[in-house]
Amino acid sequence: MQRRLEQVYRDHRQGLYTLALAISRSPELAEDAVQEAFTRLWRSSRQPQGDIVAYAFATVRNTALELVRRRRETVQMPASLFDGTRCNPATLASDAEQERLVREAVDALPIRQRQAVVLRLYAGLTFQQIAETLNEALPTVASRYRRALQRIKDVLGAGDSGLGAGD
């Protein structure tokens, strides 16, 4: 069990942290949440019933939500999910503005939609795993994810973005 959890952490380190960050909006709180979640997982004698990856993500999520409730007043400036000092190497200079808009759009998503986007795109989870993590029905999760993408597309403006996502 311990080895499997350790492997989950090593394989999904970035995704786990990004999920905690998407909830807490604080890099420090996100790290605390990941650490505390794994401390709980390792101390727990309970065997996960379903997918161990979803189980670890769910523990991180719950811990992050708990820490946010506990230290709400300490989060002053919500941090972005993205690293402002680095650029996507594939992005052309002309697309830099578009990239900035996308970052802001993701950061501005409602928390549940943001979690769905993070779990799908940055943690690489299946919709089934996302449903287990969020403890919600799979169709609910899938439609929430698509609503999030729609919202981002709307922010960008369908005509200028060139993304071509038809409604």
């Binding site: 311990q2 350790e6 952490y9 380190r13 970035q14 942290y17 990004t18 960050l21 890099p27 996100a30 790290e31 990941v34 650490q35 794994f38 401390t39 390792w42 101390r43 941090a79 972005s80 999910l81 993205f82 690293d83 680095r86 650029c87 996507n88 594939a90 992005t91 990239e99 996308v102 970052r103 993701v106 986007v117 795109l121 940055y122 698509r146 993408l149 729609q150 981002i152 597309k153 060139g162 993304l163 071509g164 996502a165 038809g166 409604d167």
Partner: protein, 142 residues
């Protein structure tokens, strides 16, 4: 909504550089792993379990043996060996023995021959074992 329509925006989102956790996070998370203490605990529990099973097995054997011993004499487990038949004897020495108060006795030392194992009775072939034995009998018996 068609799934394929979302691919461009999904690819765009995937390409964004994420904020990374600090390198210290690994140390913090992995340091919280239960290491030696639980391992020792696991070994201790395993050792105790094995010892418990051994003690229980020992007690069971002891109970079984004591029950068996109560019902039958212990010798019953080992069949008593029948001494080989005496096939011949000759008197080696003979002497009179007297005691302070009792009657005179005679001590006879005999050479006896026992048939250890018949090899072939038709040809009268046996393995024999010669030995001496002494018996004391009252004088008047002889």
């Amino acid at each position: 909504m068609n799934d394929e329509n979302w691919e461009p925006i999904e690819n765009l989102l995937r390409g964004l550089p994420l904020r990374r956790p600090s390198p210290a996070l690994d140390e913090r998370v992995l340091a919280a792993r239960p290491k030696s203490v639980p391992a020792v605990r696991r070994r201790t529990w395993a050792g105790l379990a094995i010892a418990g099973v051994a003690v229980a097995a020992g007690l069971l054997v002891a109970v079984l043996l004591s029950n068996r011993g109560g019902k039958e004499p212990e010798q019953a487990a080992i069949p008593k060996e029948k001494p080989p038949a005496v096939v011949g004897a000759s008197v080696a020495t003979e002497e009179t023995v007297t005691t302070k108060s009792g009657p005179a006795m005679r001590r006879i030392r005999q050479q006896i021959v026992r048939e250890v194992r018949p090899l072939d009775r038709q040809h009268d072939a046996t393995i024999e074992w010669r030995s001496e034995q002494t018996e004391i009998v009252p004088w008047q018996y002889n």
